[in-house]
Structures are given as structure tokens and as C-alpha cells.
Symmetry: C2
Subunit: 195 residues, 2 copies
DNA sequence: ATAATAAGTTACCGAACGGTATCATCAAGG
DNA sequence: CCTTGATGATACCGTTCGGTAACTTATTAT
């Protein structure tokens, strides 16, 4: 069974991984399923045996992205001793990602922009994810003693999204520096000195 | 001549205006030229007589958007007496736009997200525009006495882009409030008290 | 009035789209 | 061995895509 399962997963995994990469680099709508299969070295039938539609494939990829963010967030905040330290660690890790030339924007945000209709499942999936990110930041802000933790969480989330969006015209290094300085300013203003 | 010109412009204008609306609400790639012509009550031939390609139509719309932003910026800043007042006026006007339920994001940012390839003309056009916006903000920041005007301009631009991106999950009212508070914090930290 | 120009009409092009059907292949498990 | 399940291969479906050709109809400036 494990062999068969590995075999099956191998096909689906290749497809999902290739699609993730192509969707990110070229755009989702700009990438056809045939190209995905060609790059994945698989056939269209393998794709449609696992995913009932292209939309389902998109949803699977975004869900995976969301899960990976959870791991990333947990890992990044684990080391810091205080809530404020965790917030600062998140900002620093984000800045590091921005400076990585491989990144050209937040995959979730890009996907959302390709489906502007608020009723579209993809649009809503991203909105829920972003709301959860803001919640995580707000929780840390509350723990760090912010007077208005939700507001600080939203402001941070806004700044982070803005950093992704600024990447094309600011460049990675400058976007990272701007995010660090901006977040630091917000922290100094909204968090108690002793935190 | 004016009559003929008006007639010609009328067709092209209808097409461009319909395309602008459809591209914004449905996405550029998701909207076909036939649909644009149907809504514009024009024919495909009229479109291709004025614009050599769909890409040219996109470029024309984005250029128009950029021009409209120039006017908007000039109008919004005209009333304020000081440079700092102009900056605050821009933020307030942006917040008002965010609260308008008709807006669902920055058209330029949405367009850029649909063409992730940094080499694509549309992507670059938006990048140049955003850089110019940051420059305008930096100029005001310098005039207002900021120690690091470019940094403040970039931070503001980042915050504004983030506000657009946050619209789907924060909603207009909360996005507007978050932007106002965030910008105010940046101002208090980066501008002298007497400005 | 007439020549010129803009716009509409209709039909078409090749290509790519998302998605499906049929059948062959091939590896592993009983 | 031989069945079973996953994968590959290939051809095909109807639709839509961006874009063009040929021709007719209005408007309008001289």
C-alpha cells in the first residue's frame, strides 16, 4: 500500500509543486493546465484524477501555502523570549524574505488580485487567511501589553502587505529596510517601554 | 473636424471606459475583448482601429489612471497650508476612498498582480507609477522637515498599498481607520512637532 | 453634392482554453 | 500468477481567446 500511495502522491505532488511555481511566476490565469502537466512531467488525466478542476488545484495550493505560513510563524516566534520579541522576530523574518530575490510578492495577495470578485472562493480563502494573520499578530500585541492590540495587529498586517506590494518598485533591500523601520516606529508608539 | 473627432473619440472612449470598469471588477485577463465591446456597445473592429492590441488598451487605461492620480493628488493637497497638512490631507482622502464600497483595491496594484513577470510592460508601468507616488510623498516629507524624507515617503507609500491590499479582509471602515492611525504614528515619529 | 473618414456588420482565422474518453502500461500485493 | 490501482498516451470535445478581412452604413467638412 505504501508503495502505491507513494506512487500516487508522487504524481499529484509533482503537479501541485509545478503548478505552485508556475502560478506564482506567471500568474494563475496566465498558466494553462497543459503547461502545468508538461512541467510536472505528468498528464492531464493525472491532474484531473486528483483534482476535479483547475479551481480545486488552486485551492489546494493556497491551503498548502496557509499551512506553511503557520509552520513558518511558529518557527520564527519560537526562539524569542517575550511577546514583543516574537513580534520583532516576525518582522525581521519577513524582511529577510523580502530581501530574497526569489520572492516577487505574497502568493496569497497575488492570487486574490487575480480573482477580484469578492464572492469567488479563492478571493475569500485569501481574505480568511489574511484575517487570521492579523489575529495572530493582535494576540502577540495583546500579550506584549498594547493598549489597542487589534489596531496594532491590523497596522502590522497592513504594513507587511504593503511591503509585499512595494517589492516591485522599491526592490527587496529597500522594502525590507522600510518595513523594519516602519514596524519599529509602530512598536515604539504602541507598546510599553518595558516589554 | 471637431464633430468627426468627437465621433471618433466617442467610440474609443466608450470602449476604454467600459474596459476600465470591467478590468477592475472582473480582472484584466478574465475579461475578453468581445465582452468589452458588447458592454461598450461597439464592435471589435472599432477597438482594434484605435488600439493595436489588448495590451495597448490596458496600457492606455493605466496611463489614464496615472494621470487621474496626478489630478487627485494636486486637488487634495491644494487646500492644505503646510507640507505636513498636505501629507495629512492625502492620508485623509485615501481613507475616504477606502471607505467607499465601490473600491475594492488599487487598480494599478491589481493590474500589476495579474502580470507578475517583472519584464512585462504592464508590470513595469505600475512600478514606475508607484515609485513616482513615493517620490511625491517624499518631497512633501522633505518640505515638512523630516530627517529622512525618502524613508518616510516609502513608509507612507507602503502603508497606503497595504491599506488597499487589506481592504478585502478588514473592510473599508476598518482599513481607513487603521491607515489614519498608522500614518499619524509615522508622522509623530518622523516629523518635527512644529510642522 | 461629394469625397473622406469613422463606425457598424458579419464572418472568419488559428490557437489555446478547461475538461473528458478510451485504451495501454506497469508496478506492487495477495 | 494475476489482479488491482495508479499512471501514461493520445485523441478529442465545445468554447473562448485575441485578432483580421471585406464590405456597408452613417456622418461630416469642404
Amino acid at each position: 500500500m505504501s508503495g502505491a500511495t507513494v506512487g500516487k502522491l508522487k504524481a499529484a505532488q509533482r503537479i501541485q509543486s509545478a503548478a505552485k511555481d508556475l502560478f506564482y511566476r506567471q500568474g494563475i490565469r496566465a498558466t494553462g493546465v497543459e503547461e502545468v502537466c508538461r512541467v510536472a512531467e505528468a498528464t492531464k488525466m493525472s491532474l484531473y484524477r486528483t483534482y476535479p478542476s483547475k479551481d480545486a488545484l488552486i485551492a489546494a495550493i493556497l491551503s498548502e501555502d496557509a499551512c506553511e505560513w503557520d509552520s513558518w510563524f511558529a518557527e520564527v516566534t519560537a526562539a524569542a523570549p517575550s511577546a514583543r520579541g516574537k513580534l520583532e522576530a516576525v518582522v525581521m523574518a519577513m524582511a529577510a524574505k523580502l530581501a530574497d530575490p526569489e520572492y516577487r510578492g505574497c502568493p496569497m495577495l497575488l492570487a486574490q488580485a487575480e480573482f477580484p470578485d469578492p464572492e469567488h472562493p479563492t478571493h475569500q480563502l485569501v481574505a480568511r487567511f489574511k484575517a487570521r494573520v492579523c489575529d495572530c499578530l493582535s494576540d502577540l500585541a495583546r500579550e506584549a501589553g498594547a493598549a489597542e492590540p487589534e489596531m496594532l495587529g491590523d497596522m502590522l498586517g497592513m504594513m507587511v502587505d504593503g511591503a509585499w506590494a512595494s517589492l516591485p518598485h522599491l526592490g527587496g533591500a529597500r522594502a525590507a529596510e522600510t518595513l523594519r523601520k516602519g514596524a519599529e516606529t509602530l512598536f515604539r508608539s504602541a507598546l510599553p517601554d518595558d516589554s
